[in-house]
Symmetry: D2
Subunit: 261 residues, 4 copies
């Protein structure tokens, strides 16, 4: 079964900025999706900020196994309700891959619970990504390190929670480092943050980056049926308890009452 993958693109600089258009004539999201579609096990389509509900309706998310998120200039234009919907889809089992400047996307902030901030510099400097978790599924087929000749710098401290696993750490020509590949699990959903991908450089044309993204889609995909009721807090009355149980003491709730939220 192919992995139904949606590449979400903010699609702002892709439409307005000649430099970006020259590097990505097929848009950033279009280029990323095309790279993924080289893999017969992946079926990637795109969605953009400008579509109704940003292209991420309930129905669309229900049929999405893995979502990739690229945003930068218009994080604030993303509807809070859509961001909440994406987070809930992740909790239910949808995979999520957050790219580069997506560290400040509402979706990522909501799932991390931290400021997700960092230091940065746009100087076209060399970045070298080192693998810190050899043979992790996300690094299959990669050498111990690979270079991107021109990239934006992101520097530590990166304001995120301790990850499940650190998969890449980047070296920058200007002297900084960054934890460039981090995995998380939130509810039933696998999350991967991958640092490179500034829109003025040809990062998403790079063979190693394309390999990382394909691998990450396979890693993030959870083939089990999506969970339902992922925010429910069901009452288990005493007569349904796994062990025989007699109710004792004072009570706040009546039988069958919903809990407070």
């Amino acid at each position: 079964m192919v992995i139904r993958t949606v590449v979400w693109g903010e699609n702002v600089h892709d439409q307005e900025n000649p430099v970006v258009q020259q590097v990505y004539p097929d848009t950033l999201h279009g280029t990323i999706a095309a790279g993924l579609n080289e893999d017969a096990g992946i079926e990637a389509t795109t969605a953009t900020l400008q579509e109704p509900e940003h292209g991420l309706t309930e129905a669309r998310l229900a049929e999405t196994d893995v979502l990739l998120w690229w945003g930068h200039a218009a994080h604030g234009d993303v509807d809070d309700a859509v961001a909440a919907r994406v987070a809930e889809a992740v909790w239910s089992g949808m995979g999520l891959i957050v790219l580069h400047s997506g560290h400040f996307a509402k979706v990522f902030l909501r799932l991390m619970g931290t400021a997700c901030n960092l230091t940065w510099r746009e100087a076209g400097e060399r970045e070298r990504l080192w693998i810190t978790s050899p043979n992790h599924p996300i690094v299959a087929g990669l050498p111990n390190a690979f270079e991107l000749e021109q990239e934006e710098m992101y520097g530590e401290p990166f304001g995120v929670p301790e990850p499940l696993e650190t998969v890449f750490v980047s070296w920058f020509q200007g002297g900084e480092v960054f934890r460039s590949g981090l995995t998380y699990r939130r509810g039933a959903g696998n999350i991967f943050y991958f640092r490179p991908g500034h829109e003025t450089y040809p990062t998403y044309h790079d063979a190693n980056v394309k390999t990382v993204l394909k691998n990450a889609v396979h890693w993030a995909n959870n083939p089990q049926a999506r969970r339902t009721g992922v925010t429910d807090a069901p009452n288990v009355p005493a007569d349904k308890a796994p062990e025989p149980l007699e109710v004792r003491g004072p009570r706040l709730h009546k039988d069958g009452e919903a809990g407070y939220r």
Copy 2:
């Protein structure tokens, strides 16, 4: 130096419910604070939902080393701005201890990035808390297990991220289990979730529970000066890079420009 501690209480059932008032004539937050003040190293005061800004002004939080949070019936009445302010205080280094039904508090949801849901039952059943991390600072002075003769049941699965450490796991008479003591770090702030504490039972009068809370305050306290600018994402221009660096390639940002958010 004493640890400046604030016990935040929702103060709803404390005012309205005769059962709760009988168990906690001094209110829940008042009782918790009194327990903490038995420790000469802790100076605990209280704040409640009904005060202006819920008693958690910028000024108050700036002088709070550790905040305890007890809420249940009125999570929705907490102002979003205050919840955001508390989260930012945590990122800057304030300790946070979330109690019992606080698993659904806006503050906790925001810091966890998950649904924080669970199953529950109010039947006055026996709970036994087992230590899973011996000699953790939070369990100092405790036996390997201790009992609460009557408590509300919370059952797994508990919708939270993998913790930094699992400190307690609870056994319930009715057949469920729960990860009852979990630590997290978000930014510079230490977070401890502690399960027991249903308002109709005398949990906060229990000697072992009081020991846990005192220990947790000491553990959560970060004696370093609070961080400032915890959401900033500063630009580091090429001429300020740690290593000599010449700017190359196309650029999106002009010198000195702020990044997008």
Copy 3:
């Protein structure tokens, strides 16, 4: 491609103890392997303590994708060299599933770096395993909880490092709890510890347990080629450094010299 799986059995009580023989006429390892072989994607064979090199020669391990380990009465009879060889195979990418009393196996002790101790009781009591990580690959197809009517009790504190993920927590009739399913990664190898499986009870005939083990084999399998030289610490001389580098200052080592170990 099928997952080449080896079920290692100590094969002592299987040969000597009439009670065990009645519950497991095909031996423990034989029964476990037969259960795995119900899955067309798994090809399970067995190896035992009594075979030369305990059936775990270099050649055998090189062709093993996932190893399951059941031992109890004869941990001390396992050759240190074989235990070291298994650990190195794990570092190179072989999956390892440690069962029940295998918590004290040399292989597990070596990979955990802790005492791996616990409390225990053999009273045929009821165990209920609760899922703490819904939709984890290891719990696919399982309900939120399942019971084993008779099992040995293992109680906390369990002397292991914080796991990557806690997948199951057990409730015991006698009042204890235990983190019954824990994942680890050591080098390129995935490790899963699964608690149930006392030899006098029919645990490995249980449908849910069989599902867990099949799932765990799929989860532990790393389809990438096994890593070689997993203990090497290669020197990278200055003229092979990724960036141009001039050697400076005093040195301990001559060019091309191996490091100390």
Copy 4:
């Protein structure tokens, strides 16, 4: 109460190598201990490989709150029994700080359960350590980054388990990166690995490094009484179970029998 701290030095190059003697006329361990003793809360003494039992008798370890370990050329000369004793002291609550080439020390290998390997180069290049966990107790008083003008390079992948926390990541002039500060907990013991400290460079005279080590001693110290019986696996017979329990089913063990190991 002062923290009773022992700096263990291999004391080989300190005695034989003129370059090392010029940089560390008071030996490496002597210099490290002197740095720690600048802190009134720390009382640091030394122990060396050449002393009986390497200076780490049962009695000495019982009175040691935190042990620092520096070794390089003679890891193989450390007695296995002493390494095992140190590991057990860690499990019982002694703090352990492993320095630089100590990544290959028997003690560290035993506690990590991995190969602990890395790449390396001795070229006197610049290392810049970046803080990845701001306001962690170990980084108190430090800027976001600090430099060591000449150090040995250690490069990823570093063969260790995922840490509890990543505190430092290093940038190297030659193009590599390394997770330079990692925390672990093994049993009741806190462990910190800190990368810098090659014996031909004046690293342990550096003010920032001295601050890290002082902070790390305070962080690693566990003021609770040392645990005893840390490898015990006590039987809890049915009549001592927390809940009433009737023994059922077939048994392997007789009452009061010790478990297998």
